[in-house]
Amino acid sequence: MTTETQWTTLNLGPQRQPSLMNHQHSWDRTVVESIAHALKDRPGALMPILRRIQDEMGWVPRDSVPMLAEILNLSRAEVHGVLTFYHDFRHEPPGRNVVKVCRAESCQAMGGEALAEHVKRRLGCEFGATRADGAFTLEPVYCLGNCACSPAVVINGELLGRVTPDRFDAAVATLDRNNR
């Protein structure tokens, strides 16, 4: 019989998404604290800590800088410097859905610019912004490594290739109605 385990070993489910349903800038200090304490003894700990905060919360509150500095025995300036250097670390909570559109050369060559314009219109949102009702955050990304299937888009962690405006609209239509 079919052995489901053969292909579920890699955990093919959708990537874990940050559970950020409210759009207030409140955050749970204990989450940040426990992540920092769990990872602080690893070499070069600040990056794995920020990475996990970002992955679990969907953003890294600037207010967490003093706490991280104290736990890691770094200056606030050092933590601030790292936090603001990397594009992935958001300083505000994202919307309920995060859409990333590749803007790099291979996707440009396959109509990526027109697709990007379509996505902006469809979502009613500019790049780098979250729609006022908190439904979507739209971000640019520079290469998803899916260049042989250009143009590429990521919707809530799921990579899509050979995306056309129609295919994008269809994917958005499958999102939970309450969250759109």
């Binding site: 292909w7 050369e105 290469c143």
Partner: protein
């Protein structure tokens, strides 16, 4: 034994619905009460045929693609499990000319094995390189790599043997091996394919490097855009640890090597090796001065072997078959094979592993079958965002390090992006500057500020009246010279390549007659 169906689990195939195809096959088999074993593999790299499913039949792997979940019942109706004929049937996968004409050394197992099955890896020749390396002295291992002529496949093309020897000869209480998996160049995906389709070959290559240099700790610095690679790598590392291929006593040799994956945070500059080290140390990804070279003073100030994923993944076969075997492929000072990644506006995009020396024209027309849009090809960018734009008239250039450099370009990580006649090269030049401004670490002024000034100057050239253009052009050339000469790393230093090549080969896009460059 129930028949096996192979469905790729690579990000690219999944982005085209491979998971839905696998699910549909499982449920259709259940409905028809047919015993089936579904094996998820990497991708063969024939992306226009993805998702490409395969079945075994009289010792062959028969392919069907590009498949969709909706097409699965029809495949069953055609008895594809036993090689039945169907509209999507492609025949013996190994006989597809795109694949058959390649020289797959590093990518030999891609799309064939289950990436997280150690048994499968060993059955297909895995760990023979490490076995041989353990029987040699560290000097002999380094010698094999040196003899092979293997050069860094990340872009810089530095001979791997020299790096390894330097680290071997430097005494230190701790040494490291770091795999650079921050594959940020647009048009490249070879590292991702290895990590998702044959992660053990990278792990084996790193283990050999560790044994050669006396390193006991290794890191894979993985870009965050590759979440699926992370899952596969972590599963593979656990499997290798469980069987004693990693850990305290490798292969019972008494040698120790442990490996950890660290995920980046979306900074292109962290693909530069010293910026990557800073990031691994938990800091801003700022480029370091060299010397000291990382082989002497690298991660946490210790001697470190740093190589790109493909470089390290090429090491097992070099150790298994010998450096001389590998060296027999290629031309001039470019030895061995190179994974060419064909992308952009091309009918048959994918991965082509070939000996160095194949021409761009062969790659784009014989393999790629021309543009996807059917319009005339106008430009190709070779080597990622820092690579030159070449016109159709230069397509006879051979794909090797020196030939690209001689034409004012670079081979980079082996990516080729094809553009049809709708491309505006002035816009591409502007984008090159924009990308540099966005990704500059800020250490060197020419890169940090020059890139923004570059965008402005290009804007002025495009907006300017004919009489004003000459002055602005001179300014742009001068700026590019400053960036080239005044930047520590390749980002600022090579951003002028796409700009100057666009200007040289496509002056009309800047509103200019042919100009001298």
């Amino acid at each position: 034994m129930s028949p096996s169906v192979y469905v790729p689990c690579d990000s690219g195939a999944r982005s085209l619905g491979a998971d839905a195809v696998a699910k549909a096959i499982a449920s259709e088999a259940k409905k028809r009460q047919l015993p089936v074993e579904i094996v998820r593999t990497g991708s063969r790299g024939l992306y226009w045929l993805e998702p490409m499913v395969e079945v075994t039949n009289s010792g062959k792997r028969l392919a069907y693609g590009p498949s969709t979940a909706a097409e699965v019942p029809a495949l069953f109706d055609a008895d594809f499990l036993h090689g039945g004929n169907h509209r999507l049937a492609l025949g013996d996968a190994d006989e597809i000319p795109y694949l058959k004409c390649q020289e797959r050394l590093t990518f030999a197992r891609l799309g064939i094995v289950d990436p997280v099955s150690l048994d499968d890896y060993v059955k297909h020749g895995g760990y023979r390189g490490l076995e041989r390396a353990l029987a040699l002295s560290p000097e002999q291992v380094v010698e094999e790599v040196t003899v092979s002529g293997l050069r860094g496949r990340g872009g810089a093309g530095f001979p791997a043997g020299i790096k390894w020897r330097t680290t071997l000869q430097t005494n230190a209480p701790q040494k490291y091996v770091v795999a650079n998996a921050d594959e940020g160049d647009s048009g490249t995906f070879a590292d991702r394919m290895i990590m998702e389709g044959d992660p053990f070959v990278l792990i084996e290559g790193m283990t050999i490097a560790a044994i050669a240099a006396g390193a006991t700790l290794g890191y894979i610095y993985l870009r965050s855009e590759y979440p699926h690679s992370l899952r596969v790598l972590e599963a593979a590392i656990s499997a290798a640890e469980a069987k004693g291929y990693l850990g305290e006593n490798i292969f019972g040799s008494g040698k120790r090597f442990t490996l950890e994956v660290r995920v980046g945070a979306g900074a292109y500059i962290c693909g530069e090796e010293t910026a990557m080290l800073e990031s691994l140390e938990g800091k801003r990804g700022m480029v370091r001065f060299k010397p000291p070279v990382p082989a002497i003073s690298g991660l946490f100030g210790r001697p470190s072997i740093i190589n790109n994923v493909v470089t390290l993944a090429s090491v097992p076969i070099i150790l298994e078959r010998g450096g001389a075997f590998y060296k027999d492929f290629g031309m001039g000072r470019s030895r061995g094979t190179v994974p060419i990644q064909l992308a952009g506006n091309v009918k048959r995009p994918g991965l082509i592993e070939k000996a160095f020396g194949i021409s761009l024209r062969e790659i784009i027309y014989d393999y790629g079958d021309g543009t996807a849009s059917g319009r005339p090809l106008r430009a190709v960018q070779v080597g990622g965002p820092l690579g030159a734009y070449f016109p159709e008239s230069l397509l006879d250039l051979p794909f090797d390090y020196e030939a690209m450099a001689a034409q004012g370009g670079l081979l980079g990580h082996g990516g080729i992006v094809v553009f049809d006649d709708k491309v505006d090269l002035a816009r591409q030049a502007h984008y090159a500057m924009e990308f540099c401004a966005l990704e500059s670490c800020g250490k060197c002024t020419p890169c940090r500020i020059g890139s923004t000034r570059g965008m402005e100057v290009i804007d002025r050239i495009l907006a300017g009246r004919d009489g004003e253009k000459a002055g602005q052009l001179e300014l742009l050339r001068d700026l590019c010279d400053t960036m080239t000469a005044g930047s520590l790393c390749a980002l600022g230093g090579l951003t002028p390549l796409p700009v100057i090549s666009a200007l040289k080969h496509f002056p009309q896009d800047f509103g200019l007659e042919a100009v001298k460059t």
